[in-house]
């Protein structure tokens, strides 16, 4: 049974490494952020599987912390990235943002 858990963990590690292609390619920052979100979930699953395979129950706590804080990076991305108005700007003033030139990402 341990071999089975470990193979499953290895398989999930493989999916993370495959998913990295999306982070590398983008093209938008939303795509990269979504890929990171999926890695977080996959990491939680790997930790749960390893906690059974290696018989180390503390790994469950590590998985719990990952699950708990998985949302922080996404919130930082959405709440900060591309929203430069000062603290006292009224609600929903994002339209002002589109005045700046948009430039597609030519970066691979």
């Amino acid at each position: 049974m341990n071999v089975f858990y470990l193979s499953a963990a290895l398989f999930l590690l493989g999916t993370i490494l495959l998913g990295l292609v999306r982070v590398l390619r983008g093209p938008g920052s939303g795509d990269r952020m979504l890929a990171a979100q999926l890695f977080g979930t996959t990491g939680v699953t790997i930790l749960l599987l390893l906690s059974l395979a290696l018989e180390e129950s503390a790994l469950m706590d590590v998985a719990l912390v990952f699950a708990l804080l998985a949302v922080v990076a996404a919130v930082a991305f959405v709440r900060q990235h591309g929203l430069p108005e000062p603290p006292d700007t009224p609600i929903h003033s994002q339209q002002a943002e589109s005045a700046e030139p948009e430039e597609p990402n030519d970066d691979r």
Binding site: G40, D61, V65, A73, Q80, H81
Partner: protein, 331 residues
Amino acid sequence: MNGLLVLFDLVLLAGIVGVAWRCLASTDLFRAAVLFVTFGLLLALAWVRLEAPDIALAEAAIGAGITGALLLVTLERLRSIMAERRSGRPHTPPPDPTGPHALLRALHDPPPERRTFIPALTFALVVGALLVTTLWHQPPSMGLEPVVDAHMDASGVDHPVTAVLLNFRAYDTFLELAIVLIALLGAWSLGRHDLIPARPAPGPILPGTLRLLVPVAIVTGVYVLWAGSHAPGGAFQAGAILGAAGILLVLARPRQLPMAPGVPLRLGITAGVAVFLLVGLYGLAAGHGFLGYDRAWAYPLIILIEVAATLSIALTLVALFVAGRPAGDDA
């Protein structure tokens, strides 16, 4: 089973090195930041494989909760500063010798010049090869594990890492708390601007998630702190978890919170160092030496220090994230 474990290690290490390499080769800084967050996730798995669940716990809290938010917010600050300068002085040539492109795309670093390629590669390869050779030929030793194991009775706790941190090598931990405090003093010395603006919630989902996550995070932090006396966990991990929860609150708050009161904030931030110092001086006065404990009092004293240290670390991490002295206390 063994072959599978070796395969897992090899794939994991290849992934870690590959992610680090692509991160440092990025021209787009946002991509580098996301890759660095992934790097932290993979590192946590590596610490698990190295039988270090304590480190994995801290890495999970810091890698998932703090580093990512810190990097993304810093990039956003750089972007808005540069956009402001660009719109403010359109005809002034930028002082940056890498040309106008660098200002046009603030979150972009042009690839390095060719002439540094050979020397940098040679230097890195030589250092790496020396390190690998040394590490491969290091004579096997038991380390300090038997020594720690022999003295566990005297430590007051049941978990060896906590015993080392708060009893056997309490000096290190004390100075480490002081360094974290000094980092915050350095950040505060840069001025008072740059507070993170409050924003209205984009919908009902974020406030709802916060109402679920923040209480669970506080309970988890206290649980990890309590677990530290007999299992992986302790002040650093708990402080990192609570700090990440605080960062989440700072990021997601819908309106400006009342100013953090200066004196209680400063008391909380220095609590770890202060309590540690007081306990150390008490030990000195009672004849156990600086930071030595009476055996019967070791457990309550360790818990006291850990609670104070958790509070300090959490507050300091949040304050470092906000980067800037709290406004309104210039007295």
